[in-house]
Amino acid sequence: MRTRTRRIDDAALVQPGRGLTLRTGASRIRLVDRRVLALGRGEGAVIAGLTAIGSMVSALFVAQGVLVARTLALVFDGAEFAAVVPWLGAIVAVLAVRSALVWTYQTRSAAAAGRVAGRLRSRLYRQVTDLGPGWAGGQRSGALQTTLVDGVEQIESYFRLFVAQLIVSLLTVAGVVAALLVIDPLIGVVVGVLVVVAAAGPAISWRFLGTGLRHWWTAAPALSAEFVDSMQGASTLKIFGASALRGEDLKARSADVLDANMALNRVEHAWLQPFSLAGAAAGVSAIWIGIARLDAGAISSTSLLLVLLLVGEALRPVAETKRALHFAMQGMGAAEGVLEILDAEPAAREGELTLSHGTFGVSDGRTALALDGVTLRYRPGDEPALDRCSIEVGAGERVALVGPSGAGKTTVASVLLRFFVPQSGSVRVGGIDVAQLELDSLRHSVGLVPQDAYLFTGTIADNLRLARPDASEAEMLTALEQAAALEIIARLPDGLASDVGERGNRLSGGERQRIAIARAFLTDAPILVLDEATSSVDVESERTIQAALDRLSVGRSVLMIAHRLSTVRHADRIVVLDNGHVLDIGTHDDLASRPGRYRQLLDADQADRS
């Protein structure tokens, strides 16, 4: 059910401007969200360790301030240079330790974030396989890939650059303000209040951006989609003389985004202005109050020097957090996609029963698979893709499904493999309702040869071992021979070890099809679902493939999805499907001899070719 459209996913393209951190504003997720933090589960100890190191770094910055203040005070008191030297030595020691800690912090945080990303990606992929191809097909194309590739990276940045930084910053501000309170309560209170105000600015300014953000959130994806669409379709636009008109559209969309950006820019900076002034005011008022207190004899000159040097340390974390916020915003944006996947409920639940291949005695005439009154809607409210559909394939029987495109043929295969779970009716394999089967067991028993077989980047052997991980070279060669695919590896330089290229693009459509058949030989499943290829296959290989499929079908129960009438004549029975309904069932001779949809299709085919 992969979509064949070429539309590019918007999410992959929308990159909000970095200064205007926009994602969070439109997101339901808060900046520090328990569900997002839970994604880093298992790294709690490491993050705590990092926080500890980070706090020590901050403490050493404060210590440096204290030592420098002490040194300056000594100099003001007229001390000899020799008396100053031990203090200078202490500063050197502080510097050395701090450098070592900074190094540790940087490298450890990179390693920890890498682990978070690795675990998250595995967890996500596990969930995606549980949700299955049916669910994946219903996602916007490209959205899953974006989440699993880029989204996870952004979460990594969130943990690497934001979480620990935020805690360290909070601790540092608290520590410095506490120190100032000890030196002089008034200075401590004033600086404390102003620093909190300055820090609150960026964190809350987006709350006031509401309408602007909503604007941006509709305008920007629309522009991305239209821009990519126009460029991809540039040739078509040109040929049909439609570029100019489309250009006007694009201009309007781009102007929408510009307007939204400019409005946000104004609002955001207008809001930031007072908060950032509060930051500047913190330093200035500390000095002013300090000088006044010194003048009044309330504090010592050492204390005033301490105030001068420590106020900067209280403001440093605010600036660092502001920088880190940018990564937090990106992480938040990504978190929505990630949580959406993790929260989705797999439609197909695991059963407990298993099937052994012995269940399907070809000779005893039992039913290999059966759909019984199956109705499936892809989404609630849709027209049913299958409507009270009943199909049976006896053990060892070969049944063909025919019907126009959109009749529901491929859906039957998806329901059988439990990629989709029907709303009503039952599907049985080997006489057992598939809902009661272990999914792995079901999928071991039903082999699939899809019409557009997917080959993975790697070698031919890698792709064959997908079907049977422990297959020996001899077994693989036998399977290839049966699939009429030996000539493919004979042609390739490294035989079984030849690289098939990205998505198997070094092989032709017919060759990929034959590799898929070889896989089915290796799986050796008693039930087969064959989705006939409609892709580019030349006449010669069409014949070879047909012969290979005939060999594959021997001794198995086969459901064949046929797109061309020429290939169904030899089926034991033919099921005619239209609009999700079974219209008729019978042999070719039966169906051809009586009026009906099959005869119509047959006649149309004949008439057309002559």
Partner: protein, 586 residues
């Protein structure tokens, strides 16, 4: 240094995109510089006030200076926020302009340019690249400027306090500024490795997602997870190397900054005890030395960014500077040319290769006639179709419509004369109706419906969830290749050009689609001059005449009956197909 200059050369044109907003851009830089200098002044003034107070200056005589401190500090902050606002305003406006310029450019470059590249990739890349340029003007350039301005300003301020201290600081300044260069020697290689492993990881994940059906059907999840984990480990290892170097850079930079401050403190203390420095000015020197070199740290952050942004800029410039393969005349339109297509001794090689694809081709298609172009893949059939639409110009020979060479037609007239039904149909992300009406935006719904009916597309469109209003490309409208081609036929019918090029699908379509398309083609060909790139015997039989190409030459021409009864190239080509009672010719 050569690397730096080269990088600068690649980045310089970005400033050019600020175009008409350049004055505002420079103004924002000036405001930014003022903000930085005011911030140094704030730090220095504050420290000087503290020093003066401790030295015994009375509060009353300091008060005017305290007011000055407030003003300088507030002004500095105000400038900083204003700069950020201005620089973003310039960036957003420039981006808007750049997007429109790129669109016009794509249009100007036309299908010829795009056909030789993967336009989907280009589009995606360009859009991301354009956004990346905002990052440069708004977030990379300002810190770079700061990194230059602040240390110079700070050193000057310290020199005013006591020249010896400035001399002490200078070596540290130079050392910090050059850290990225002597520690960053492997940066490029590490960056490349990090990108390569990240790319490989992306590929593995995408493979596992796109091949999900196979992974699930073959219960191969553990294997997929193993592959992902392996690629992930490689990325983490590469990133760790990168992180270690970055950590080293930051550690060394941080240490140098503090040591510089320490040296100022030590030498300052010595100078005070020797009576060479007024103690009241001493704290100012220490504070400026401690804080003012911090912007240099930004250099370690932006180094890698610059490389990446330069690559983005390169891709954008490549498109902006590309030469269009053809230029259209601005001459007036020709009154009613006859729909006769004539290829006269046409020779052509694609711009990217030396090999001739067409080698002296001549044939004529008369008004209303349907000619099937036949030949193996690579024979030059599609090239003929492209040249007729003037995606490129032939190297020799000429193509004419109604006796007028193509180059003499203004573009819009040529587009109204020739339309095409391609194999690989692009559907826009709009309604099916809008997709059909792409060549006739003012078509009524009835006209669209009639065109769809003639193209045998009406029934399946009506079956879509929202009928003609269904958005193509969304889930409900995952159309098969055959259905897409029928939409393209409807497009061509509605466009109603006197000449149509029809590229028949090579792939096997389902029986129903094949029949429907054949009827659609008949509707298109009726009364029009039609060139069909044909792959099926049934299509070839229906053509008025056949032109067979081989290796860029016309090797056989005539009616089906004439050619099949002989022993020419055409008869030999279709012989195996006839023997196998098949339809598709190889």
């Amino acid at each position: 240094m050569k690397r730096v200059r080269e990088l600068g050369g690649r980045l310089a044109p970005i400033v050019a995109i600020t175009g008409p907003y350049r004055p505002m851009f420079y103004a924002s830089m000036a405001v930014g510089m003022a903000a930085q200098l005011l911030q140094i002044a704030t730090a220095g003034l504050g420290a000087w006030l503290v020093g003066a107070a401790i030295s015994g200056t009375a509060l009353s005589s300091l008060t005017p200076w305290l007011f000055a401190l407030v003003i300088v500090a507030m002004l500095g902050q105000a400038c900083s926020v204003t700069e950020s606002w201005m620089v973003h305003a310039v960036s957003w406006r420039s981006l808007h302009d750049l997007r429109l310029t790129l669109h016009d450019r794509f249009d100007e470059l036309g299908p010829g340019y795009l056909l030789e590249r993967r336009s989907g990739d280009i589009a995606r890349v360009v859009l991301a690249d354009v956004n990346e340029i905002e990052n440069y003007t708004s977030h990379v350039l300002p810190p770079l400027l700061t990194a230059v301005v602040v240390p110079i300003g700070a050193t000057a301020a310290i020199a005013v306090i006591q020249p010896v201290l400035a001399v002490v600081l200078l070596p540290f300044l130079v050392a910090v500024a050059t850290v990225p260069f002597w520690l960053g020697r492997h940066a490029e290689e590490q960056g490349r490795r990090a990108r390569t492993t990240a790319g490989a990881l992306g590929a593995v994940v995408i493979d596992a997602v796109q091949g999900l059906r196979e992974i699930v059907a073959f219960t191969a999840r553990d294997r997929a997870l193993r592959d992902i984990a392996r690629a992930q480990d490689a990325t983490v290892a590469a990133n760790l190397d990168h992180a270690r170097r970055l950590a080293a850079e930051r550690t060394v930079t941080g240490a140098l900054l503090s040591t510089g401050m320490l040296a100022t403190l030590a030498v300052g203390a010595l100078l005070v005890t020797r009576g060479a420095l007024d103690p009241a000015r001493f704290p100012a020197a220490v504070v400026i030395a401690g804080a003012a070199f911090a912007p240099l740290v930004a250099l370690t952050f932006v180094g890698g960014e610059l490389q990446r942004i330069a690559a983005c800029a390169d891709r954008v410039w490549t498109i902006l500077r590309a030469t269009p393969p053809v230029r259209f005349t601005a001459a007036p339109e020709h009154p009613r040319p006859q729909p006769v297509v004539a290829f006269d001794n046409v020779t052509f090689a694609y711009p990217s290769s030396d090999r001739s694809v067409l080698d002296g081709i001549s044939f004529t298609v008369r008004p209303g006639e349907t000619v099937a172009l036949v030949g193996r893949s690579g024979a030059g059939k599609s090239t003929c179709a492209h040249l007729l639409q003037r995606f490129w110009d032939p190297a020799h020979g000429s193509i004419s419509i109604g006796g007028i060479p193509l180059a003499a037609f203004p573009e819009q007239q040529l587009r109204r004369l020739v339309s095409s039904v391609p194999q690989d149909v692009y559907l826009f992300n709009t309604s099916i109706a809008a997709n059909i009406a792409i060549g006739k935006p003012d078509a009524t719904r009835d006209e669209i419906r009639v065109a769809a009916r003639l193209a045998n597309a009406e029934a399946f469109i009506d079956a879509l969830p929202d009928g003609f209003d269904t958005i193509a490309g969304e889930r409900a409208a995952t159309l098969s290749g055959g259905q897409r081609q029928r939409l393209a036929i409807a497009r061509a019918l509605l466009r109603d050009t006197p000449i149509v090029v029809f590229d028949e699908a090579v792939s096997n379509l389902d029986t129903e689609s094949e029949a429907a398309i054949r009827r659609g083609l008949a509707a298109v060909a009726a009364g029009r001059t039609t060139i069909v790139i044909a792959h099926r015997l049934s299509t070839i039989r229906r053509a008025d005449r056949i032109v067979m190409l081989d290796a860029g030459r016309v090797v056989d021409t005539g009616t089906y009956d004439e050619l099949i009864s002989g022993d020419g190239p055409f008869a030999r080509l279709v012989q195996p197909t006839l023997q196998h009672e098949s339809d598709v010719i190889p």
